[in-house]
Symmetry: C2
Subunit: 211 residues, 2 copies
């Protein structure tokens, strides 16, 4: 590539090759001993917002992600799941959005499966009002939405909604978390499908880490 | 922001707000106890390349950057320095480009000051040939180009040449490293000024870390 320091305003930025979500082909992942996620402190939702496309709850929480401090910012939901594992989609995926002191974004993605009802999800659904944002009169303990075992697929990608910024460390948990069939139905009655299409992996490695 | 899952090809990606280099205003940095850089293993240049705008040397080396494993890829030089500290430019800046297993790029930026000649830089200059790339007959120990004390300014930014991708963790070392006046003159005879213009910080925090 040639470029001229005398004409810097002509320089073009290239981006768009590291988008999310992706289909994680497990046979092409690379094993690592790195600690992906270590939850620390209590995850609690304090504010809930009905956006046009999803239910979002903000609050407190903290984790070590690859041994660095991150603060929890918000959780929101996608139905069906956005990430695929070997081409398979879970019925729902939630995103625990974190931020470090430098402003680095890191999202922990968790898949739900149908089973016993989930108390944390119920706490959110019980206090949700479409199209409004309000503080929760009863803050919701989010513990039941956090897996703590199994493989975590780590790769570098983007936000899955506009502005689609390629500034996200993804931690996609292989172990699923149970939610009730009625809870899923309730969410789906509130919101239409909101999964972004699968994006090309291109040259990105996917690292298989552990809790 | 509104967007429609039925028309995803209309979604626009926004970028360009997190570019490098920047002017680091030290009074606006935030102190942190995080370990910025821990050199591990031997840094050695094995191949040298005369690019159109800079001298680049590739080789081996490894560091913990914020406690994560990174491998050294290449070093190259900018005159005058690209980053500023409180508006001041050093006469030269070199970039130690590192990559993690996930493909994360991290660049350690080091400023030179005029003083006693630098043996590592001399080793590179002695074997450099413009416009060609060749393996070094005598691999060059890069140790004298690596600072190991002082403050390290850490922020999230971009490559400073096209494609300007916003995928770089920057570690800008405050402590300078001595190079000889004649060494700087030799480099400047080989290459015209190759510092990109200062870019807006926008909303990015700058963290003051330590070795």
């Amino acid at each position: 590539m040639t470029f001229d320091y005398a004409h810097q305003t002509d320089w073009a930025m290239t981006s768009g090759q590291h988008q999310s979500p992706i289909d994680i082909q497990t046979e092409h992942t690379q094993a690592s001993q790195l600690s992906a996620i270590s939850w620390r402190g209590f995850y609690q939702a304090q504010t809930i917002t009905g956006e046009a496309t999803t239910m979002k709850a903000s609050g407190i929480g903290a984790a070590y992600l690859n041994d660095r401090d991150f603060n929890f910012q918000q959780i929101h939901f996608h139905t069906p799941a956005e990430h695929l594992i070997d081409g398979q989609a879970a019925p729902i995926e939630w995103h625990l959005v974190h931020r470090s002191a430098t402003g680095q974004l890191a999202v922990v993605a968790v898949f739900g499966r149908i089973g016993k009802p989930n108390a944390s999800l119920q706490g959110l659904l019980d206090q949700f009002t479409p199209q409004t944002s309000h503080e929760l009169t009863t803050p919701v303990d989010l513990t039941e939405l956090l897996p703590d075992t199994g493989t975590v697929y780590h790769y570098l990608g983007s936000l899955t909604t506009p502005p689609l910024s390629e500034t996200v460390e993804w931690y996609v948990c292989a172990d699923t978390v149970m939610i009730g069939e009625q809870q899923l139905a309730t969410y789906q009655q509130l919101f239409a499908a909101n999964n972004r299409e699968i994006q090309p992996l291109n040259d990105r490695p996917i690292i298989a880490e552990r809790f």
